[in-house]
C-alpha cells in the first residue's frame, strides 16, 4: 500500500441483493490515489466503475450494499502521516461523520449535470446549500463563495447565474456549474463520473483542461471515470482498467498505453481508431458481449471473450491482481499464477 496515499481502496466489495439473485457489482477492487494525482478508471458500461465511486462516497442505495473491504481515506482535519486513515466502509452511509466528509473532503462531479440539478430550484440556491451544509456562515457569505467559484471555473457573469434555473443554461455551462459546486468546500479528492459524456467534443476539451488546471491550483486528487481511453490519455496519471466488477490491470498511464499486459486492456486499446490505421479497414472489436450480471462466468470474468483463453485454467480459477514489474499490476494467468482464494 502506498503510505502517502490519501485514498486507498482495499478489496472493496459491493453487492445488490434482489429477488432475481445477487449481483456482485464490485467484486474485490483495490487501488490507491496519491495526493495531487489523477487516477482514471476505465471500462465498458456495466463494469462497476460507477458503483465503485458510489461505494467510496457511501451513497449506494438499497438493494445495494458495501459488504466488504476497506475504503481508507485521509480527511483534511487529520494529520499528514499515514496513520490517520478513516475507513469509510465502516461508517454509517447516512451518518453524520460520513456526511461531513461527503461534499466537504470528497466532492462529486456527476455524469449528467442536467439531471443532477433540480429544475425547480435556482442554481444559487443549490450552490449556497452546498456551502452552508459544511460551513457555518450566513447566506451572503455563501453566495460570495459560490460566485467566486463560478468565476474560477469560467462561468460568465456568475452573479446573474445565481438566479437562473438549470434548464436555462447550456450543457457546457451546466457542467461548469457542477464543477464549481464540487469545488465550493475545497475538497481534497474530486470524483468525476464521466463528466464529459453529456457534452460535445469541443466543450469536452475545455472541461478537461479546466479540470487539469484546477487540480494543480487546488492540489486536489481526482478520480476520473470514463469509458473513453482518449480522455484517459489526456488527463490521467494512473489508470485502473475494470471489467465486470473486477480490476483487470492498473498502472501509470504510459505503461498501460505502451505496454498493456492484460488481454482485455490490449483489446480495448486495439479498438481505438488511430491516425496510422489504414482507412476502410474495419476496426477490431471485442468478440461477444458483456455477460448478464446474474450470469457471471466462474473463474476469470473475461475468459468467454478472451483471445488468449486457457481452457481448464481461466474458467476454473479467478486470477488475483498481482504486481508485475515496478508499477503495473495485472490479474491474468498469462503473467502470474496467483489465484483468488475461495
Amino acid at each position: 500500500m502506498n503510505t502517502n496515499a490519501i485514498l486507498s481502496v482495499r478489496n472493496l466489495k459491493t453487492r445488490f441483493t434482489m429477488d432475481e439473485g445477487t449481483t456482485k457489482a464490485v467484486d474485490g477492487v483495490s487501488f490507491d490515489v496519491a495526493p495531487g494525482q489523477v487516477v482514471g478508471i476505465v471500462g465498458e458500461s456495466g463494469c462497476g466503475k460507477s458503483v465503485t465511486i458510489k461505494s467510496i462516497l457511501r451513497i449506494v442505495q438499497k438493494p445495494g450494499e458495501v459488504v466488504g473491504g476497506e475504503i481508507l481515506f485521509r480527511p483534511q482535519r487529520h494529520g499528514e502521516n499515514g496513520t490517520d486513515f478513516v475507513d469509510l466502509a465502516k461508517l454509517d452511509g447516512r451518518g453524520k461523520e460520513m456526511r461531513t466528509i461527503r461534499g466537504n473532503d470528497i466532492a462529486l462531479i456527476p455524469q449528467e449535470p442536467m439531471a443532477a440539478l433540480s429544475p425547480v430550484h435556482t442554481i444559487g440556491n443549490q450552490l449556497v446549500e452546498a456551502v452552508q451544509l459544511h460551513r457555518k456562515i450566513n447566506k451572503r457569505q455563501a453566495e460570495e463563495i459560490a460566485i467566486e467559484r463560478m468565476k474560477e471555473v469560467g462561468v460568465p457573469s456568475p452573479e446573474e447565474r445565481m438566479s437562473a434555473y438549470s434548464w436555462e443554461l447550456s450543457g457546457g455551462l451546466r457542467q461548469r456549474v457542477m464543477i464549481a459546486m464540487a469545488l465550493l468546500c475545497s475538497p481534497r479528492l474530486l470524483i468525476a463520473d464521466e463528466p464529459t459524456t453529456a457534452i460535445d467534443v469541443t466543450t469536452q476539451a475545455q472541461v478537461l483542461n479546466l479540470l487539469r488546471g484546477l487540480q494543480k491550483n487546488h492540489d486536489m486528487a481526482i478520480i476520473f471515470i470514463t469509458h473513453d481511453l482518449g480522455v484517459i490519455a489526456q488527463v490521467a496519471d494512473d489508470v485502473v482498467v475494470m471489467y465486470l466488477g473486477r480490476v483487470m490491470e492498473t498502472g501509470p498511464v504510459d505503461d498501460i498505453f505502451h505496454n498493456p499486459l492484460h488481454p482485455y486492456t490490449k483489446a480495448l486499446l486495439g479498438s481505438i481508431p488511430s491516425i496510422h490505421t489504414t482507412s476502410r479497414e474495419p476496426l477490431p472489436t471485442i468478440e461477444g458481449s458483456i455477460p448478464h450480471p446474474f450470469n457471471r462466468p466462474a473463474g476469470c470474468p473475461f475468459f468467454p471473450r478472451c483471445a488468449a483463453y486457457m481452457p481448464g485454467k481461466c474458467d476454473r480459477q479467478t486470477p488475483k491482481l498481482e504486481r508485475i514489474g515496478e508499477h503495473q499490476s495485472v490479474s491474468c494467468f498469462l503473467h502470474h499464477e496467483v489465484a483468488e482464494e475461495i
Binding site: 448478464h292 450470469n295 468467454p304 471473450r305
Partner: protein
Amino acid sequence: MSAETESKTENIEVRQAGQREDADAISVAPNWKLVWWRFRKHRLALVAGVLLFFIILIAGFPGFFSTQDPSQSDTTGSFMPPQGIHIWDDGPAFFAYAANGARNPRTLRMEWQLDESQKVPLRLFGRGYEWKVLGLFTTDIHLIGLVNPDEDKPIHLLGTDRLGRDQWSRLMYGTQVSLSVGLLAVFISTVLGIFLGGISGYFGGLADMVIQRVVELLQSIPPIPIWLALSAALPRTWSVTTSYLAITGILALLTWTTLAREVRGRFLALREEDFVVAAKLAGCRQLRIVFRHMVPTMNSHIIAAVTLAIPVMIINETFLSFLGLGLRPPAISWGVLLQEAQNLQSVALAPWLLLPGVAVIITVLVLNVLGDGLRDAADPYH
C-alpha cells in the same frame, strides 16, 4: 472471414450459449405473453381476478345464487335480521336458525329473534322459485335451498327490508344490474375514447384541436351536478329498460375524455416510432397502420384503463340511484338497495341494510387491484 476467426467466434458462442437460453424465451415471446408473465407475479391482482370471476358469475346467474324471488314482498316479515348459514353443529352440518317474530304492542313493529332451538336444514342445489337462465329457459334449481321447502319458512341470509323482501336475493340481482351498468357505460366511453382519441392523435391538426378543446371543456365541468340534472330530466314514465340505457348513456357521456387523452398521448408517441414509419414507407394504408400496427401495442394499456374505469362507473351509478335520480324501483341495483338505508331510523333499526354497500366496496376494491396489476404488467417502467 478467415477460418481462424470463424472458429474463434464459434468458440465464444459455445461459451456464451448457456447464458442465452433464458433470454431467448423472453425475446421471442409476444407482447401479451410478456404482460401475462409480469401479471402472474402480482399475487394480489391474481386473487382479485379470481374474486372478479365469482362476481361475474353472480352477475350472469343471479337467480341461481338467490334464494327467493327478489321482488316478492311480505308485509308480515319486514326488517328480519340476517339468519346466516351455519356449517358446524358438533360435526359438519348445513342449516340456519329459524327467526320468530312478535309484534311489539307499543310500537306495533315486528321484533325478531333467532331461535337457536329451531334449525332449518339447508342443502346445496335445492329447489325454489322458478328463474330464467340468461333469459333462455327456466329452472328452479338454486345454489342454496331448503331441504323441506313445503314445511319450513323461507330463510333470509341477509335479512329483509322494509317491505319484507329478501335482501340476499336482491343483492344478487343488484350485482347483475350494477355490474352491467358499469361495463356498458365503460364500453361506450371506451369506444368513444379510442375513436376520438385515435383521430386526435393520429391525424392531428384541426381535428386534434377541436377534439382537444372539447375534452378540456368536458374535463373542467364537475360531472356530478350534470349527471343529476340530466337524470332528473328523464321522464318518469320511461320503462325500466329505457331508463337503464339512458342512465348508462349519461354516465358514459362525461367519462370518455380520460381514455381519449390516454389514447391520444400514446398515438402521438407511437407515430414517431420506427415500426410505424417503416409501415408507412412500406405503403400501408392509414387505417391498416392504425388498427394493425398501432392499436395492438396499446391493447394492454386499454384493458388496464378500462378495468380501472369500471369501478368509477359503478360508484357513480350507486350514488345516482342512492339519491333517487338513477335507476328507479322496480329496477334493482346496489344504489337502489342502499336507498333503503338512506335515513338514520332504518339504519339504526336494520343495520344489515348497509350490506349492499359492502358489496360495492368489495367489487370496486377487486377491480382496482386487478386494474393496477394489469397496468403495472402492461407498463413496468411506469
